[in-house]
């Protein structure tokens, strides 16, 4: 094998200190909006991103629709009714604060985006006259055409626009820098966040970021059950560097999490049992509401919530008779009756009626503008679709007016996962926040996918901006903390340790072992003995094998750090699973030793945090955030008054 000289400087052992009022960890959508909000408030801002901010994060190469923009000029729903619908739909295992902020401020962020140079309207009149387009504002809508609260957007333009805006505002961006640990100080038993540490992933330089307030925007954990050492980048839905380092460092620092016992049977792993998202025939999300046909070419019927067959394509985008609005997209698959939208006939019923696999998406049977908006706009603007799906398939000869695209497995999901192949997907656990999007530790805030029960690009933008405002207000009231030099030394030693090990273990081997362990001990059916076995295994990895990890350059060192974080998060998940002593449908949580499903006594959030190195359980009522509208308005009069 050819060996190359590393083209970047070797700065291993060197250290740099950086100070700012506000520190943002993670340069995805949430992080960028957080940085912009803080900079607009006149704060000095540092943003730390492991990849390259211009195209980093789940929305780096685009996203196609923005949910819950309830205050856009065409909307006929209120923020309160949509936020509360989400809370009810998810049986209150939902993040009311996060949803309300999304519903209330999402449109403001889209309006911002337009001033930054992002495209949110059909300015070229490409879709003039389409039912989903408002010809006056040129805004375009998805799902519910009657209520118009989900917008179709040109997300490929968004990240570069945010990047340029941050540059304009003087945000100091540290690309290729992984954040690895939070800095805290404790005065009189009161803990406060005072910055973070990390490492340049190309040069190995150690970084200390001191700040008055810190915002965690580092997505959610991944590669816990699903890991392919061969095509690691395809293991999960989100980018491979988004593996939950924010969760791991938060947990180590004492941040409180909730819903960490929730995991779902795999939905996306293009290294394994599914196809690339939006790259196979289906009728969900980006592809809603594509016409589907079976192997014989017979059209699969769409039904309203009462089981009535819908006659036209247009009917698929309207609420049922007597229904005000319906919910679709993101975390919503099979909504409760109250919010259920049009959907294709149930798979079992189709089999009974003689429909034959495989199924296909057949856009040729749709009106021209509906076809073009799915293939060409949505598939094209959604992340990871412009080049590997839209361009590649077009080059291979795919023409949506002449061809039908196959679905795999049973129906539209194009995936056939096993029960133990799990993922943190569909509004998984994360940081428990208050109405300031503050964690339980003063000076540490969180936004986007780092929050519990979160999902969707629009929410990342809205909560990112909101956290940026609140973290700025806090930074205006406090001084810098005093960094413990011992903490710095310990972290530096922890990070560099794998460079000192000769002929040790590759990070992939440990990641494979964690994934197999989690499949065995934290799969579809859980019980105390299994979970304890799992914990014991993870502890043995920590004690015996983490010290044996070795690598040869800063890039591989970053991957090694990631696996150490994956191990930390796996332990948090196992402990959280032990804490819930009943089963739960909304949490996709099944305990064979506690088979009772959602008993009254356990209908609350169970929280987990580390105290003196030990996981401690907490209980928080589902409605801890109060009436979403009232509580929001109590705390945001400055914003409502026009101070954006």
């Amino acid at each position: 094998m050819e060996q190359y000289k590393w083209p970047y400087k070797n700065e291993i052992g060197e250290a740099e200190r950086v100070k700012s009022d506000v520190l943002v960890l993670g340069g995805g959508l949430a992080g960028c909006y957080a940085a912009i909000a803080a900079a607009r408030k006149g704060k000095s801002v540092v943003l730390v991103e492991k990849g390259a901010t211009k195209r980093s994060g789940s929305g780096g190469t685009g996203f196609d629709h923005w949910e819950s923009a309830c205050t856009n000029p065409c909307s006929s729903v209120t923020p309160k009714e949509i936020a509360e619908a989400y809370i009810n739909e998810q049986d209150h295992y939902s993040n009311g604060i996060y949803h309300y902020i999304t519903c209330r401020e999402g449109w403001d962020r889209l309006a911002d985006m337009e001033t930054f140079g992002g495209k949110i309207r059909d300015t070229e009149d490409e879709f003039k006259g389409a039912e989903f387009r408002d010809d006056k504002t040129k805004l375009m809508f998805a799902y519910d055409y009657e209520n118009k609260f989900t917008l179709r957007v040109w997300g490929t333009t968004f990240k570069p626009a945010l990047y340029n805006e941050m540059k304009k505002l003087g945000v100091k961006i540290y690309d290729r820098t992984e954040a690895t640990a939070l800095l805290t100080e404790e005065i009189g038993g009161h803990k406060r966040g005072i910055g973070a540490m990390g490492m340049n992933v190309r040069t190995g330089k150690f970084m200390v970021f001191e700040a008055k307030s810190t915002i965690l925007t580092m997505s959610r954990p991944a590669r816990i059950w699903l890991f392919s050492p061969d095509t690691m980048g395809l293991s999960e839905f989100r980018p491979p560097q988004s593996i939950g380092s924010g969760h791991a460092m938060g947990y180590r620092a004492g941040v409180e999490f909730t819903m960490m016992e929730k995991s779902v049977k795999g939905e996306f792993s293009a290294a394994g049992r599914s196809f690339p998202p939006y790259g196979a025939g289906n009728n969900h999300n980006t592809w809603y509401a594509a016409t589907m046909v079976d192997a014989r070419g017979v059209e699969i019927p769409y039904l309203d919530r009462d089981g009535n067959i819908l006659k036209t394509v247009s009917d698929r985008y309207h609420p049922a008779k007597g229904q005000k609005f319906f919910l679709k997209g993101g975390v919503i698959d099979e909504a409760k009756y109250e919010y259920r939208g049009p959907e294709t006939m149930d798979f079992a019923e189709l089999m009974k009626r003689g429909y034959q696999l495989p199924f296909y998406a057949d856009l040729s049977k749709m009106p021209e503008l509906e076809r073009k908006v799915i293939w060409g706009m949505m598939v094209g603007q959604e992340g990871k679709t412009q080049v590997p799906i839209y361009q590649n398939y077009t080059e291979r000869g795919f023409d949506p007016s002449k061809h039908i695209l196959q679905s795999y497995g049973t129906g539209w999901q194009s995936a056939s996962f096993l029960e133990q192949e799990r993922q943190l997907f569909g509004a998984p656990g994360g940081v428990l926040e208050d109405w300031d999007l503050k964690t339980n530790i003063d000076g540490i805030y969180a936004a986007g996918d780092q929050l519990y029960a979160s999902d969707c690009a629009g929410s990342a933008c809205a909560t990112g901006y909101y956290a940026g405002r609140k973290a700025s207000d806090y930074a205006g009231k406090v001084d810098f903390g005093k960094v413990s030099e011992d903490d710095v030394k310990i972290e530096q030693e922890r990070l560099y340790h794998p460079l000192k090990v000769e002929n040790g273990m590759d990070w992939r081997e440990l990641n494979m072992a964690i994934a197999k362990g989690m499949q065995n001990y934290c799969g579809g059916i859980k019980c105390e003995d299994l979970l304890r076995e799992g914990l014991s295994l993870m502890n043995s990895f920590e004690e015996e094998y983490v010290p044996q990890l070795s690598c040869q350059n800063p890039h591989e060192l970053m991957r090694t750090h990631e696996v150490m974080d994956i191990l930390e998060v796996s332990k948090m998940i196992l402990n959280a699973c032990l804490m819930r002593e009943s089963s739960s449908e909304p949490l996709h949580f099944m305990r064979s030793d506690f088979p009772e499903v959602d008993p009254e006594k356990d209908r609350h959030f169970i929280t987990i945090k580390l105290v003196d190195g030990k996981p401690v359980k907490g209980i928080v009522p589902h409605d801890y955030y109060g009436d979403v509208e009232k509580e929001y308005e109590k705390r945001n009069q400055d914003y409502i008054g026009g101070e954006h």
Binding site: Y4, P7, G51, G281, L405
Partner: protein, 94 residues
């Protein structure tokens, strides 16, 4: 492999995997490294040879997002394609 010391020369060996996500057209690539700058996964490593395309050092880590192609100033200089197993089938309308 011995201990990595501060200031020492660092090395990397391309990590082989079963797929080739990114293929450069050497005649078209101008070696500007914009693709390597855009890659959020840092799959690509800048070439030390001026004018030469980056090295696909960690192909198995590719996320297939297409940022490298989107940022490339020369059409056709980079080809990104999903592994064979991920190319869904399409057929003429029935």
């Amino acid at each position: 492999m011995s201990e990595i010391k501060a200031g020492a020369e660092l090395f990397a060996e391309p990590v082989t995997c079963s797929t080739r996500p990114i293929i450069y057209n050497e005649d078209l690539c101008i070696g500007c490294n914009r693709c390597a700058d855009a890659c959020q996964v840092d799959v690509l490593v800048n070439s030390t040879e001026k004018g030469h395309h980056p090295i696909v050092m960690y192909p198995g880590e590719c996320y297939y997002c297409g940022a490298c192609v989107m940022e490339c100033p020369v059409k056709g200089a980079i080809k990104l394609e999903h592994p064979l197993m991920n190319r869904a089938k399409f057929i003429p309308v029935k």
